[in-house]
Subunit: 228 residues, 2 copies
């Protein structure tokens, strides 16, 4: 099994989508060889019919998109711990995935983009800055100047998550599953690209984040991070 | 089994929380005697130790709060169709519940409050207006003047739901379950208090809402509504 990842300077894994896939693989107890891809060698992904990471290769199967990878793992490895628990859990998982993409990563984008630029290899920096300017109309420095507002937006967008974690240990209940990994992807992006603390120390989300960093022999904690 | 409901003029059931409980009961194939409560006779709820609807009475059990009612029904009637499908689905259900309360009902509040005032019994209108002014600092007419902005906010807050329903028939997958009922509660509030269409006709959320209105022999469709 191979997982194609975005890899930035010093081999940093920053993509929230790659992190979702890595957590889902770990939950299933599966190991994949990690294949690093830089912005400048995306043509290595041509075989997948698209140009974004993560891409999972499992024998003859090629699956891109972190949501589809989670669904594939659930279907292909039903005897291993379930990511969703049930069909209703999987259905709701898609809504969680959309919430994470649209609301949570939407707010994280402003916070994490300047640091992602900083850890992008020098040869890819012009591409990275230009593509973000095309999406947003802002330069990296414009976005960097919005840090205080971005932090406020991230903390505010976490409110339903915060209220949930005030009542239970994980977003999926007593033990972690897909919902947790989906949200944690965003926090791994922050951990690898943003040095200050995203969360107040007494935020229930912070206690959960620490529990998530401990999972799978500290997989998230051990990664090269900018976090203090 | 008895369900204490908020009942406004002509017996209208407007509370999104009551509607969540009604849909959950119907999903389990359970019938409860519906006990109407007005704002001025909330003292009928004293036995429940709090003053909000819905309250479910099942033999000796008294359960208030729509989330706790859903969890109670799941635990007490495990042989009937599951609301969550699994422990992971139930865990994630709490996050869905918090999202609905905080984000969706937060945006629906401005849209539905003026119409809720209009269908509140005359003797309760002063209490209703004053309590909303204490919460928001705005009069009913202040809130009514914000209709266009409120509609925009509601439609925007639905984005993760819209994207999910572009890919599957129900928020819980192929068939409806708790996640659908939780979101639908908000739309039942709108249906009973807001005459204009909340959704564009080609919005995937609108097609889903129509499917939800058909469920359980048209339970939602048959209720006294303001919708054209």
């Amino acid at each position: 099994m191979k997982l194609y990842e975005l890899s930035l300077s010093e081999g940093r894994t920053v993509s929230p989508f790659v992190w979702r896939a890595r957590f889902c693989l770990a939950h299933k107890g599966l190991e994949a060889e990690r294949i690093p891809i830089s912005y400048h060698d995306k043509d290595q992904l041509v075989f997948s019919g698209q140009d974004r990471v993560p891409v999972l290769v499992d024998g003859d199967m090629v699956v891109s998109d972190s949501w589809k990878i989670a669904c594939y793992l659930e279907e292909a490895y039903p005897e291993r711990p379930s990511l969703f628990g049930s069909a209703a859990g999987q259905g709701t998982g898609l809504m969680i995935n959309k919430f994470c993409d649209h609301v949570l990563l939407g707010s994280m984008f402003l916070l994490c983009t300047p640091g992602t630029y900083d850890v992008t290899q020098d040869e890819d920096k012009p591409y990275f800055a230009q593509s973000r300017q095309e999406w947003t109309g802002m330069t990296i420095e414009d976005i960097r100047s919005m840090e205080a507002e971005a932090l406020k937006r991230v903390r505010s967008s976490l409110e339903p998550i915060r209220q949930t974690l005030a009542e239970q240990a994980f977003l999926s209940g007593d033990t972690p599953a897909f919902t947790d990994y989906c949200v944690m992807g965003g926090f791994m992006w922050a951990r690898t690209t943003y040095a200050p603390q995203v969360l107040e120390p007494d935020d229930p989300v912070e206690a959960w984040r620490q529990r998530m960093l401990d999972l799978f022999d500290g997989m998230g904690r051990k990664t090269l991070s900018l976090e203090a």
